[in-house]
Each structure stands twice: as structure tokens, then as C-alpha cells.
């Protein structure tokens, strides 16, 4: 489902935006550092804190994200559904090591720690009309 074209937008160069909604219907918009490309049908988000996004998708697995290509600022709209969490394995390791590399530079090694790689199934993908 995800085209190769979208990959540059998933490199974590420009923050992404995620919209979740609690079971009670209260929406939450927040910026996240990266949406990871897993395969054509899946993306992953890092789970570091028990924040609102995390709580909402556990209640209501449906979310929407906007990812942006750092070079072109082309936006992509994705509808995703929480599928499962991985606490080990290649995906987890890749996310973990990169997170550690950055956290260790910013003096936040202990704080910024990957708890799990939350894997979402891509329900739809749409390129924005405008750039930026």
C-alpha cells in the first residue's frame, strides 16, 4: 500500500503529527519525532512514555498521521490502526539503537528509552495536494 515515494517522509527528518482519539471521543493531536516505515502495509511508532497518544490507541486503535518529506515538504496523510507492540526483534533494535544514539547526545539516555515498537497497520495513504 505504501509507495517507495513515501520513504523519505519516514526518515525522521521533519517531525510528524499524530491524531488519536480516546474511547470517549476526545481527540488528541501531538507531534512525534518519527513514523517508521516497516513494510508496505505497516508503520511503527516508538513507545517511550505513557502519554495520551499511547493511552488513546490502547482504547481506540484508530489514528491518523501526517508525515512530511524533509526535502520537499510533501505531506502524506495516513490512516492507521494499532496492531501490536514489539519489545525485541530487528524492528525494535533498529528503533532502539537510533533512539539511544540521539538520546545519549542530548543527555537524555535514561529518560528517552524505547519501551516498545508499536506497529500499526496502514489503512489508507494519501498524498496532500499542496506542499507544506
Amino acid at each position: 500500500m505504501l509507495p517507495d515515494e513515501i520513504k523519505p517522509a519516514m526518515l525522521g527528518i521533519v517531525p510528524s503529527t499524530i491524531v488519536t482519539c480516546s474511547l470517549a471521543g476526545v481527540p488528541n493531536v501531538t507531534e512525534i519525532s518519527q513514523v517508521w516505515y516497516v513494510d508496505e502495509d505497516h508503520v511503527a511508532l516508538s513507545h517511550q512514555f505513557f502519554n495520551k497518544t499511547h493511552r488513546n490507541v490502547r482504547e481506540n486503535p484508530f489514528a491518523a498521521v501526517i508525515v512530511r518529506d524533509g526535502r520537499t515538504f510533501q505531506e502524506w496523510y495516513l490512516e492507521i490502526q494499532y496492531d501490536h507492540s514489539e519489545e525485541s526483534g530487528p524492528l525494535f533494535d533498529k528503533m532502539d539503537i537510533e533512539l539511544e544514539a540521539i538520546a545519549s547526545m542530548t543527555g537524555m539516555s535514561g529518560v528517552f528509552k524505547l519501551r516498545a515498537a508499536d506497529v500499526y497497520r496502514v489503512l489508507s495513504v494519501r498524498k496532500s495536494k499542496s506542499r507544506g
Binding site: G12, I13, I97, E98, A101, T106, G107, S109
Partner: protein, 687 residues
Amino acid sequence: MAAPPAEPSIRDQMVDNQKVIDSLNNKLARKSDEVRIIQQISSEISSTLDLDRILAISLDAMEAVLGFRHSMILLASADERTLKVAASRGYDGNTGAEIAVGQGVLGVAARRRQVLRMGNVASQRAYLAGVRARTEAAGAGTLAPVAEMPGLANAQSQLAIPLVVKNRLVGVLGVESERASGFDELDEMLLSIVGNQIATGIDNAQMHLNAIEHSRKLDAVNAELLHLNQALEAGVAARTAELSSALDQVSREKDLSESLLRRMAPSEVIPLMLEDKLVARRLDVTVMFTDIVDFTAYSAGMEPDEVFSQLNDFFSAAGDIIGRYRGYINKTNGDGIMALFGVPFESVTHCTDAVLAALAMQREIGSHFPWGMRVGINSGVVTAGMLGPPDKSLYDVLGEAVNIASRVEALCPPGAVAVAPQGGEVLKPWFRLDVLPEQDVKGVGRLASLNALGLKPIAEDGRRVDPTSQFAARYLPVVEEVDAAKRERFGMIDFVSLQARDLALQHNEAVAAYAVALLRMLRADDAVAARWQAVDEAELMAAALLHDAGKHAIEPARLNNRNLDVAGRDSLRRDLLEGTLRTLAKIGAESLETLITDLYRFEATRGAEGQFDAAVELLAVADIYDALTAPKIYKGSPWRIVGALAELMRLPYGQTGRRPVFAAFAELMKPAGAAIIARAKQDVLIR
């Protein structure tokens, strides 16, 4: 969602295909370039063990070959906790910067030993910096300081290759770029391979360096050890030399003090003297004075050192002789000597010792010095002890006997040995004595001293040899043969001083003469000739002369002890034999060992132990006979000849029939006309 693709035209398809083919060709070209590059880098790296060169080759290849403008190699510390920039390209003054393992992209790649390729470093950092700012604003605890990272301040892409060899973290290779996603999978793969080569090269170089360093350290340690060893050896040598010199000093001082002490007193009493326990005591001694005739006139024209040299030679020779007869030079006075015999302990032979020493000295002076010497000898009771002021006291004797000896000396004709008259009784059995003209002696009155001419020859000693015996009639030349043999074969042994120890004067000569004479007599007798032909006469004579040569090692007091019990006599005999065998070995007369050992066995077992060699029997009978008949003072009266011969046959080993040699000996020695019949152990008829 994407629309379903429309059916492409053939032309489009061909174009697309061409694109795919071009792209594949490109990839292929790049691949083969990469293989070539890798091969080139690795061959260059593996061609050297120089670490700086390896770093340079590696980083130069990063830019020139791979096109990475910013690259660095950090080397891990030995504990793998820190990484230090060892070389870099594309920076200003980066070298030497240090990060912790686990810090940043390079640090994490190193810690996890995992290639790490990131294309969003700056963005992610900025994002996290924001999070950090919010976290800090929220006051959520203290955060670690932001790390200072080497390299580009705003690197967006970093590719970190851990350099690991055999699980050891060597370092990390990093390339970076300000562009986002600056490195792709192919870069990662390529650098991973090159990284392996670099790691191996660095590892080899470091091992080489370590080896060099190790060897340098070893050399240093060795040098230090060598130095220490040398220092130690030098120290030990110096200390040894010091100790040895101290020991020498002590030994010299000991020798010096002993020699000084020996000037004060006989060495036997020095221990007592040092403990201040030497008390004055009365002793029966013999005092000897000597004086060189007209030495003053003789030395008048001589240089003083010549005078001293000659006199010292004389004193040295005299001291040697006096010492051999257990005398002690008490003092010298000009060219005169005062010597004491029988000090510091009682001696039973002091008088004969003094006379024998005097005779020896006269012989020696006569043959070595161009002057005459007077000797005066007197025996008597004196008081002996330390005499003189405390700092100059000497072992000395006091008494009238001393004065008389001095007077006797003054009256002695040059070359003679004058003995005060009362010595006559003691000396008569052994010495030929003359009476000197009676003279006035100050404080004594008129005195007729004796002149000791020398030892009495055996043949002249009626107690040993009866003038009417066959021995006296036929075998006296044997005595001269014995003297000749003694001089020629055993000139190194001073028989007289040896015999003087227990007053067995001329004992060896007598035994030799009797044994040889007996052998010759037996050989002349046809009936038993066969047994005696086997005896070697020269060996027999030698054995007789040397049979108690071990005497010099035994204290005279023990030799002369008349109260020895059986065990004491056995042990004395054993020691005597042992000493004798040692002497035989020393003078190369081992061939006599068996004969002499058998003689001792014969005497110890009274001849009871089986058969003995003919020579042993000859020696035994001669030895026992002389022991019985030789003159004695302190051993009681000697046996008269006839009595001694009878006793010989009465003793178990002399029983008639068992040992015909004893009867034959009686025939040899008995006075003419005497019959000696020994019928049984207790029944000897003497007429």
C-alpha cells in the same frame, strides 16, 4: 490511495525496460567499483603495521575513493570505555577529542558493536532538545549535560562502523554529512566491509606496537634487572670483601694476640691465663740453659742485621728442636736460651727430653752454625706461674734448680751437654755419660757435672743384650744395618723424638735387629728353613721400625699412663694402630699395613687367633722381648734377660710347641750356658 495502473504502451514498456537495464548496469558498475575499492583499501591496509599509516590510508580512501568528505576514526581505550579521535578528514583540529563509549551515534555503534546509519541526526537532536527543554521546564529531575560531540556540529547523517576484532572493540569509523539521509544501504555495506579491514589492520598494528612496547618494557625491565643484579653482585662482593677483610682482620688479630700470648706462656695454659685462673704451682721440671761460646767476639765485626739474622736462625732451629721434645723456651737472653721441660703440666720424661733436645741441638749447631754452644741441664722442683708486673708478666719458674742449671751451663765445655750430677741416675740406663772435672760452683760448692755424650748403643746395654748371647756374638752387624736402613729409608722420621714420648728409646731399632737376627738364625737352621725363606727381610725390618709410628699423635700422658685398664689399653692400641696406618700411608709404606695390623692383632689376642705369618711371629717376639727388657724408670724395674725369655715362653702365645719361634728367640738372646726350660704355663725352670 493510488489508482489502479493503466495498461502501459509497448513503447513505454521498452523505455521502462531500458531504464531498468541502465539502472542495473549502473548498480553493477558501482558494485564492481566497490569491490575494486575494497580490495585496494584492504591490500593497502594489510601491507603495513604502522598504525598512523593505516589510519591515513583508510581515511584518505574515504574521501578520494568513496567520496565521504568528513570521516574520522576513533580508537577505543584499553578498558573499552572511551573513544578518542585518532585521525580525521574534513575537520579542523578534531584529533584528540574524546567521547564515552555509548555516547552519540559513534559511541552507541561502538557499544553495541553494530553498524549504525542515521540520516536524521540533527533533526532528532533538535526534537529531543525540545523535549529536554520541556522536561527541564517541568522540573522533572536533573538531566545529564548535553554531550560535546566531535565532528560536524550540524551533521544530519552519520554512518558509524564499529571496529571490532575477535570481540575486542578496537574503535569506530565514522563518516558524516550535513545532508539528510546522506548514506544509503550500499554505503553501509561497503563501509562495513572496509571497516573490517581497517579494524584488522589497526588491531595488527596495535598488537605490533604492543609487542614492540612489551619488548621495550621487557628490555627496560631486563636492563633494570641487570643493573640491580650488578648492583647486588657488586654489593654482595663489596660486603663479602668487607666481611672477609674483617674476618682476616679478626684472624690476624687473633693470630697476633695468640702469638703475643705464646710469648708470655706455654699455649696450654693460655686459656687459664686469660681467665686469670692460672695459679702458681710446684712442678718437677728440667731446666736447660744454652749459651753460644764467645758470640760477642764472633759477631764483633758483623753488621747488626747479620748478627740478628744469624741469631734468629739459631733461635728458630733451637725452638723447633726444643718443641719437638715438648720443651718450652721460657726466655732468651742475648744469645742464650732458657728452656723448661715438664711445664706447664707434669711429665715423666722431662729429664730425658731435655738431654735429647740438647744433644739434637748440639748436632744441629755443629752442622749449621760456626760456633760452639754450652748446655747446662738440671732437674728439680720449681715453682711455676705468671711472674712480673701485670703488663709484662711471663710464665716463669723460680727455684734453686734454675740457678744450678745456669751454673752447670757456665761450666759446660763447648759442644757438650752438661747435666747436674743428680740427673745421672735417671739418665744412666739410656745415655753414655762422662763425668766432667769437679769445679767450684757459686752458691753450691764443688760440683762434678756429667757430660751426656749420646744414647747408649743397644749392644752396650747389658740389660737388653747379654754379651755372651748368640745375638751379641754373631748378629751385632744387624744393628748397624738397621741404622743404615733407618737413615736411608726413613730419614723423614725422627725416631728419637718419637721414642722419647714414652721413653722407648731405641725400641724400634732393637726390635728390628732382634727380628732380623732371629730370621737369619732360623734360616740357617735347615730343618725349618722353608717357612722362613718366605719372609722379606727388608719388609720385616721396615715393619719393626715403623710398627708404632703413630705414637706422635698420642698424648705422652696417655702413652705413659701406667694405670690403664684393659679397655684403656685396647683403645690405646687401636688408636696407635690407626695413627700408624695413617703414617704409613703418608710416607708411602702401605705395603706394611697387613704385617703391622697382624702384629697388633697378635698382641691383642695374645697370639690366640689362629695362624700368623712367620714375619708377624718374628716381630711379636722381638717387640715383646724389648718391651720387657728395655730400661725403664717409671714403669718399674725391667726384666732381667733370662726372666724375660722365660716369661715369653710362659705367655700363651709363646707356649712351646705352638710357637717354636719363641724358643728359638730364647736361644738367640739367652746368656751362654743358661738353659731356659718352659714346661708348662706356670712352670718355668730357670737356671
